[in-house]
Every structure is written in structure tokens, then in C-alpha cells.
């Protein structure tokens, strides 16, 4: 609805810009002010050219993104050709536990990612041992270059009950074979997400930390603050926005990962993505899959809203 009325509005503006001396145009021009009318005469072809330049990109966005998105949203409300909430009822009956599970996993992972990236960024900025800083700087980015599916595969063999990790503990005498347990459940997913996404947020965060005014840190140091206090009270408040943006982007990424839950824990409870894949692959039930998709879209839009509000505030500054 709103999109339609918007196009009508633009259309109206376009006709106003036609340099024909019709009364309506004159009326509107009067209201818009002489300056706008003067600009229009020259801007019109430029606008058209601009539109033509953007058109191919716009068409691709509309065809490949907007149309499928709309069809999946309308599909969520369609049961046997009629509009209904049946898919949502079924999605909640079957997977409400998994929805909460997904949200909890992703929120917990985001919190841990935040914590670890602050630790890494903080040490890179405030660390006093140059060798340790150099080693950390070199090492922490590695997981960035490993695809999610490979992370899942590595952790699958690493975290299994008789996997590499437990075997090492048993060899070291820290654990008996009987007390060994598998981490291939929610913990495995959280470990995979945190391991893969921390470098990404840490990269953004350490960049932001490196670009803050060093004199604020020096001043605090001169006044006797220890490094933890400097990190929490001086550095963090200045990079808060970057941290938030990094975490939001990670949140959205994690919501969309299918490979990790499939590799590590495709049973119940599992993440929504695995359920969507199952509905489509085993039943060709696009209705419930679309409903699940829309629900995860709502979760990500909630955080996207925070992100947008943040960037708007920055732009207005």
C-alpha cells in the first residue's frame, strides 16, 4: 500500500518538473518556491540519465531480492490457495521451542563475541608487551578465512564424546573416559559461532580503538588508572557504536547459518534454519518454511532497527 502511494507521489513531482506552463504546474511551483522551479529546468535530463544509470542495478535488486522476498512473505500466509495464519500456527506448534533456542543461542553467542572481542581489541590497544601484541594481531584473524561449513566439520570431530578434545584431556589425565561427554549440542553451536565471529567484531573494534585519540588514554594513565579501568571507562565508551554495529552484523549472520547447526546438532532442539531446510527437503512444505523465515526475519529486523537508528543518529551528528 505505502509503496504504491509513494510511486504516485514521485509521479506527481515528475509532472511538476515538466517545463509546461499548465496551471497546476504553476500552482505547485508557486508553493515549492521559485528556486526549485529554476533548478528543475536543468536537472530534468540529469535525473532521467541518473535513473537510467541506476535502472539495471535497481532491476536486479527488485528481481532477485524484492520479488522473492515478497513472494516468500505472501507464501507464509497462504494455505492451499487461501490466506490464513495456518502456517504460523503450525510453525509455533512444531518449532516454538526451536525459536526460543535459536534466539537464546544467537544472543548468548553475541554476548560472548562482544566480551572476547573487547578483550582482544583491548589488549591490542593497551597491551604493553609488543611481542605478545604482534603475535595476537597475527593470530586472531585466522578464523575469518574459514567457511562456516568447515568450522562445523572441524568442531564436529573436535568436540565429539570421543573426539580430539576429550582425548587430549584423557591423555593428560584431566578426565576419565567415563566422565567424557559430547559437546555436540547447543554448546557446540555457541562455540562454533563465537570462534568464527569474534575475529570479525574484534577486527572492527581494534580498528576503532586504534583510531581514538591516544591522549585520552595517556591522560588517564598519568592520573594512575590501571589498564582495565582505562579499557572500560575511557576506550569502550568511545568505540561503543562500532561494537554495536559489529555485534548486530554478527547476529544477522548467525541467524542465517545453516551449515553449523546441521553439522553439529540437527536434532531437537535445533536452530530455525535447520527446520526450514527440513520442511522444504522432506515435505516440500514451503508454507511453514516461509513462516519460519518470516519469524527469523522479524528477529533480525528488530536488531536491524537498532542499527538503523544508530546510523541515523550518526548522520545527523
Amino acid at each position: 500500500m505505502s509503496a504504491k502511494s509513494e510511486t504516485e507521489v514521485t509521479h506527481g513531482w515528475g509532472s511538476k518538473k515538466l517545463p509546461q506552463p499548465d496551471t497546476a504546474g504553476a500552482f505547485r511551483a508557486k508553493h515549492a518556491g521559485g528556486l526549485a522551479e529554476g533548478g528543475c529546468r536543468f536537472a530534468m535530463p540529469v535525473h532521467l540519465l541518473g535513473f537510467l544509470l541506476v535502472a539495471p542495478a535497481l532491476a536486479i535488486v527488485v528481481l532477485l531480492f524484492v520479488v522473492p522476498l515478497i513472494s516468500s512473505i505472501t507464501g507464509a500466509f497462504e494455505v492451499g490457495g487461501t490466506v490464513s495464519l495456518g502456517n504460523f500456527t503450525k510453525a509455533f506448534e512444531l518449532y516454538s521451542g526451536d525459536m526460543l533456542f535459536t534466539l537464546a543461542i544467537v544472543l548468548l553467542s553475541s554476548a560472548l563475541i562482544g566480551l572476547f572481542s573487547i578483550m582482544i581489541g583491548g589488549y591490542l590497544t593497551l597491551g604493553s608487551n609488543p611481542r605478545a601484541v604482534a603475535i595476537l594481531r597475527w593470530i586472531y584473524r585466522w578464523p575469518l578465512f574459514i567457511p562456516f561449513i568447515v568450522v562445523g566439520q572441524i568442531l564436529r570431530t573436535f568436540l565429539a564424546k570421543n573426539g580430539l578434545m576429550n582425548n587430549i584431556f584423557i591423555e593428560l589425565g584431566l578426565m576419565t573416559p567415563l566422565s567424557a561427554m559430547s559437546f555436540l549440542d547447543w554448546r557446540g553451536i555457541v562455540i562454533a559461532f563465537v570462534w568464527k565471529q569474534t575475529p570479525f567484531v574484534a577486527l572492527l573494534l581494534s580498528g576503532a580503538m586504534a583510531s581514538i585519540d591516544r591522549s585520552t588514554i595517556e591522560a588517564a594513565r598519568n592520573l594512575g588508572a590501571n589498564r582495565l579501568r582505562i579499557l572500560i571507562e575511557i576506550v569502550l565508551p568511545q568505540v561503543r557504536t562500532t561494537l554495536l554495529v559489529g555485534l548486530i552484523l554478527s547476529f544477522v549472520t548467525m541467524m542465517s547459518v545453516l551449515s553449523v547447526p546441521l553439522m553439529i546438532n540437527a536434532q531437537s532442539p535445533t536452530m530455525i534454519t535447520a527446520n526450514m531446510a527440513f520442511r522444504i527437503n522432506a515435505y516440500r512444505d514451503y508454507g511453514v518454511a516461509n513462516a519460519l523465515g518470516l519469524i527469523s526475519l522479524l528477529m533480525t529486523s528488530a536488531v536491524a532497527w537498532v542499527y538503523l537508528r544508530q546510523t541515523m543518529r550518526e548522520h545527523s551528528r
Binding site: 513472494s71 507464501g75 506448534e93 512444531l94 518449532y95 516454538s96 521451542g97 526451536d98 565429539a160 564424546k161 570421543n162 559430547s182 555436540l184 540437527a266 536434532q267 531437537s268 532442539p269 535447520a274 527440513f278 527437503n281 522432506a282 515435505y283 516440500r284 514451503y286
Partner: protein
């Protein structure tokens, strides 16, 4: 809309693929062993008997999802009006043959091939409640059973009641793969409903379908949820065997053929054994079907005729891949030595198989049970 898009993409792909007349495409659902069977055994054999032909095999993955992909492929090509489809022979699960026949995607070819008369079993005529007589040739029959590690479980449970008892006493030692990771877990769940569903299992297996029947299952699913808390969920058919071999679980439902193959390959310790609990667990055939729009129908029929000949059923299906034969047993038994034949029945005797080997419920019950499982056990 979406289907149309998929269909046209597929169609476009088809026109671009150069198909030489002598290339036979076999598309198969199921675990990796299905692809291996054609690649390692049946394909080369067919190529040798028909010089100049090339057998190409495509696997679509385990469980219902694998067969679902084949069904969707046929649907897409049918809707797009493609004259020659991209598969000549398909191997699908029992549950999907019915819809394929109803939508007229298949060729009725059984009477045209010489081995057609070697099959008299009921499940070659009716697939989970749908009449498919003439459209299918069973590639093999398979059965699920419980595989166990005798070192950890000296007295294996012989009934569902004893399984429940066992899981209570030995938490996390029983492992099954839920319903999303392949049919051995599905089969365990179906067996659970046969045992505790409160109704007549015969009705579930033969119909007619009555949606109200589902109400009787609440208690069974509540107890299954309780049971699953004491069990370990494994990642798939292979996952159960894998965890069994690493000692992470002591017992779990598996496909009998995969069990024997893993044992023969050394992926599973030789001590492992099988037991088929009462009142029974389901098994199912995989069927060879020929799409109605196959580009090489004659060659496809020749291929299935070879695949269901007593010689191949004996050598390939029974001896190499440890499946129960698809065609009637007496034709196969004659081409095998006694020892190989009896290996099939090492742990589960023919009598037990006859008594406790059940078919899956008819398709609508099948779906209703799976959905109720997700609603009441999974969530």
C-alpha cells in the same frame, strides 16, 4: 510461481546439456551406499554388457528428502512441458512411488521386462496404500533392527518394553537419529507407535486412513518424549553406526544392510550384533522406476532387467551389499552358495524377520506420525 521458476531453470539447464544417445542417467535417493552400488558394481556391469553405453549416477541424499528431490525434479519437468526428462532410471523410497504413479510420471514397464514375473511380493503391487502394480521393480528389501555392542549389552532388549527398561537403567546408552536424519530413526518411531499407539497396527499399515486415529497417540508420544530424554540423538543413519563403533552409545536402530556393509568394510567392530525387537520394526523396499519421459526407455528397461536378474540380485544385492533381495527369494537363493545366503540371517532368523519385520504405515498415517512427533516430542 516458484515452481515455474524452478521448472524453467531446469528446462534451460536441460537444453544446454549435451545428451548422447548412449548415456543412461540413474538418479538415486538414499545413503552413499546406493551411489556406490551403481558406480562400483551395476554400472560397470551394464557398460560391459552393452558396449558404447555410459552409466551416469546422481545421488540425491538420504531419507525422504532424497526421494522428495526426485519427485520435485519430475514435477518441475512435467510442468515445464519438457519432452525428454533428465533421468532414465530412478531409485526411490516406497513412500514416493505412490505420488509418482498418481501424477502419471512413470512408465508401466514391469510386464515388458523378462524379470517382471520374478516378483510376487505384496509390496511390489501396493506402496503404502497406493496401487503401483506394474510401475515398480523392487531393487531390494531392507529392514531396520537394533544394532548393539555385546560387550556393553550382554542381554539385548528383545521388545520395546525392554528397550524402555534398558534406557531407564542406562541413560544415554540408547541412540537414535530422531526423524530428520534418515529412515532408521523414523522406523524406530513407527515401531513405537505400533507398540504403544493404542490402536490396531494393521490399520496403520493397510488403511483406511482416519484422521481421528492420531488422537490415540498422545500417550505414546508423551512416553517417547520421556524416553528420548534418556536417549542420545545421533546425527543420522551413519551417525548411529558411527557412535556405536566409537563406543559412545551401546545400542541403536540401524538399517540391516548398512550394518553388514560397515562390518564387512571394517568400519564397525566385528563383535557387533543385531536384534529385531517385538512387536516389530518396519522395513521397506527401494524401487526402480522408469520416468514416462525418459530419453532412453529401452536402455532403461534393459538396465532394470539386468539389475533385477537373479544373478545380479545374488551377486550384487545379497553378496556385496547385504540387502535382502528385491525379487522373490527362491530365484536368488538358487544362484548363491548356502554360506553367503545364511550370512544374511546371522543375527535375525528368517522366522523372526517374517514375524517382526513390518511394513511402514500407509503414507497419510506416516506423515501424521512424523508431524505428531515433531509437535509432541521434538518441541
Amino acid at each position: 510461481m516458484k515452481a515455474k521458476l524452478i521448472a524453467s531453470t531446469l528446462a534451460a539447464g536441460l537444453f544446454c546439456t549435451p545428451l548422447s544417445a548412449a548415456e543412461l542417467t540413474v538418479i538415486t535417493a538414499g545413503d552413499k551406499n546406493m551411489v556406490d552400488y551403481v558406480n562400483e558394481y551395476l554400472g560397470p556391469l551394464f557398460e560391459k554388457e552393452n558396449p558404447g553405453t555410459k552409466v551416469r549416477v546422481v545421488g540425491t541424499g538420504p531419507g525422504d528428502a532424497g526421494s522428495q528431490k526426485i519427485l520435485e525434479r519430475f514435477e518441475a519437468q512435467s510442468k515445464a512441458g519438457v519432452a525428454k526428462w533428465d533421468a532414465d532410471v530412478a531409485v526411490v523410497h516406497e513412500k514416493f512411488v505412490g505420488p509418482m504413479v498418481e501424477q502419471k510420471f512413470l512408465e508401466a514397464y514391469r510386464s515388458k521386462i523378462p524379470t517382471g514375473s520374478l516378483v510376487t511380493r505384496e509390496n511390489a503391487k501396493v506402496a503404502l496404500g497406493t496401487n503401483v502394480d506394474g510401475y515398480v521393480m523392487p531393487m531390494f528389501n531392507s529392514q531396520t533392527a537394533l544394532a548393539y555392542n555385546p560387550a556393553l549389552v550382554p542381554n539385548p532388549p528383545r521388545s520395546y518394553d525392554e528397550i524402555v527398561e534398558f534406557a531407564k537403567k542406562n541413560p544415554k546408552q540408547f541412540g537414535y537419529n530422531g526423524i530428520k536424519g534418515g529412515a532408521s530413526g523414523v522406523s524406530f518411531v513407527m515401531g513405537w507407535i505400533y507398540a504403544y499407539g493404542g490402536g490396531d497396527p494393521q490399520k496403520l499399515m493397510n488403511g483406511p486412513f482416519d484422521p481421528d486415529e492420531a488422537k490415540n497417540w498422545d500417550k505414546a508420544f508423551a512416553s517417547l518424549k520421556e524416553f528420548t530424554r534418556n536417549a542420545t540423538l545421533t546425527p543420522g543413519n551413519a551417525g548411529t553406526l558411527d557412535m556405536l563403533s566409537r563406543g559412545e552409545i551401546a545400542i541403536g536402530p540401524v538399517w540391516v544392510d548398512m550394518f553388514y556393509s560397515w562390518k564387512a568394510n571394517g568400519q564397525l567392530p566385528p563383535e557387533m550384533k543385531l536384534v529385531l525387537p517385538s512387536p516389530g520394526m518396519p522395513g521397506q523396499p527401494m524401487h526402480y522406476v522408469v520416468p514416462a519421459k525418459s530419453a532412453n526407455k529401452e536402455l532403461a528397461e534393459k538396465f532394470v532387467a539386468l539389475a533385477t536378474s537373479p544373478k545380479v540380485q545374488a551377486e550384487g544385492i545379497v553378496k556385496r551389499f547385504n540387502w535382502y533381495p528385491g525379487i522373490d527369494a527362491q530365484h536368488v537363493q538358487a544362484s548363491l552358495d548356502k554360506e553367503t545366503w545364511e550370512k544374511l540371517f546371522t543375527d535375525i532368523s528368517p522366522e523372526e524377520l517374517a514375524k517382526y519385520g513390518k511394513p511402514f504405515p500407509i503414507a497419510p498415517y506416516n506423515n501424521a506420525i512424523l508431524e505428531a512427533y515433531e509437535r509432541q516430542v521434538g518441541n
